[in-house]
């Protein structure tokens, strides 16, 4: 009986100390998003999204405008410095309508591990583009979104799909 008592105490002790939070590793490996953004990207698709119509549940929410003008002429090159941080960019419009005001300058991201926004800067001018899904980066697809708002409410968006050259 005494042995059973000690056995129960031992079992409880083992059970108590056996319960501790486990450290789970990341579900996926850390993706070097910024490194994957580096390179020369050609614009392959442009979709106009009427966010106001989406909010209201109206029909006619999106329109693929890629082939209305020579959007596929547009190329954006994003460079990293020696430390792997965002540095310079160039945008060659060709005959494409411009998608931002700038054609060269410096670029940055809002956070290195999981960036959501790319800021293109030249002097006092800054153009911000939202980053879409990262899933395409490894297969050479970059998705950027430009939002146009009124009083903080997004009314209209342009979704740009780039393919790595």
């Amino acid at each position: 009986m005494k042995a059973l008592k000690y056995l129960l105490i031992a079992l409880c002790t083992v059970a108590f100390f056996g319960c501790k939070p486990e450290k789970f590793g990341p579900i996926t490996s850390n993706v070097a998003v910024v490194k994957q953004l580096q390179g020369t990207w050609g614009l392959t698709k442009v979709v106009q999204v009427d966010q106001d119509a989406k909010t209201k549940g109206f029909p006619y929410k999106e329109l693929d405008i890629t082939n209305v003008y020579a959007y596929k002429d547009l190329v954006i090159a994003l460079q990293l410095d020696a430390l792997g941080n965002p540095s310079t960019f160039t945008i060659t419009n060709g005959n494409a309508p411009k998608i931002v005001d700038l054609t060269s300058g410096n670029w940055s991201v809002d956070q290195n591990l999981a960036p959501t926004t790319i800021a293109l800067k030249n002097g006092t001018v800054t153009n911000a583009l939202s980053l879409g899904s990262y899933t395409g980066l490894s297969s050479g697809k970059l998705y950027l979104v430009r939002n146009k708002s009124i009083n903080g409410k997004v009314i209209l968006s342009y979704q740009y799909e780039f393919t790595k050259k």
Partner: protein
């Protein structure tokens, strides 16, 4: 003659009244937050610092109500007070459904005037201003996107299956004329008879970015554009007769 002069004076005064009111955003539904900017220069309220709004809904269409914040005519509520932003210039922020306590489906338009707290002085009525529908209403002409500025691509559509006039139902060789207007509302440039793309059997469209159609000097502000679908009809002898649809105007917004 006297009546004619009075009529002209009345018309001009009405135009003047409308020119003093601006909205941000320019178009809005009953559920959007809207800022009215009012310039009271030339009205009995000129030079007064504290003015109040008096609102009313559905003018001339039935089912109207006074705004919930109006208070009494002789004693406006504090919630109805305009915010002064400059001499003779005031703003008032509201959301239609909240202001009138009516559902979006009930609200068709609204009007307002500005007054002193005790109601001894007031402006003319400014009305009616329409709320955008929250329910999509198919029409023979539409633009995508519905809200845009002068740098955006616009696509104008002619839904021939929704055409109400027989002449438009039978239209072929469909083209479109686009006219741009400057900030003062004067015609800035036009492009005529551009061939519309036949998207389906009964749907025509034309897409454009303004600076791809016309030369726009840096700094030029466009206030709106209009579009008009044109084409031909077959007459009794089998010949072609040129026909035009109505002119439809689209205002440019300012994104911020």
């Amino acid at each position: 003659m006297k009546k004619l002069i009075l009529s002209i004076i009345f018309s001009l005064s009405t135009l003047w009244a409308f020119s003093q009111v601006t909205f941000s955003p320019v178009t809005f539904t009953a559920e959007d937050e809207v800022t009215i900017t009012l310039d009271v220069t030339g009205t009995p309220l000129a030079g007064i610092d504290d003015i109040y709004i008096w609102t009313f809904s559905n003018d001339g269409v039935g089912g109207g109500k006074d705004g919930l914040v109006n208070g009494q005519w002789g004693n406006s509520s504090d919630a109805a007070k305009f915010t002064k932003i400059a001499t003779n210039k005031f703003t008032f922020k509201f959301t239609g459904t909240t202001l009138f306590g009516q559902s979006p489906a009930e609200l068709i338009n609204f009007g307002f005037l500005a007054k002193t707290k005790d109601g001894s002085k007031q402006t003319p009525d400014y009305k009616p201003y329409k709320f955008d529908p929250l329910v999509f209403v198919p029409t023979q002409f539409r633009v995508f996107p519905a809200k845009l500025d002068q740098t955006d691509m616009a696509t104008v559509y002619f839904h021939q299956d929704l055409a109400t006039e027989q002449s438009l139902q039978r239209l072929f060789d469909v083209k479109v004329t686009i006219v741009f207007y400057d900030a003062a509302g004067n015609e800035f440039a036009r492009r005529v008879d551009m061939i519309a793309k036949k998207e389906t059997d009964k749907l025509y469209a034309y897409s454009f970015i303004p600076d791809r159609l016309v030369t726009i000097p840096s700094g030029t502000v466009l206030s709106k554009f209009s579009y008009q679908f044109t084409g031909n009809l077959k007459d009794a002898n089998g010949g072609n007769t040129a026909t035009s649809g109505p002119v439809v105007e689209v205002a440019y917004l300012t994104f911020n």
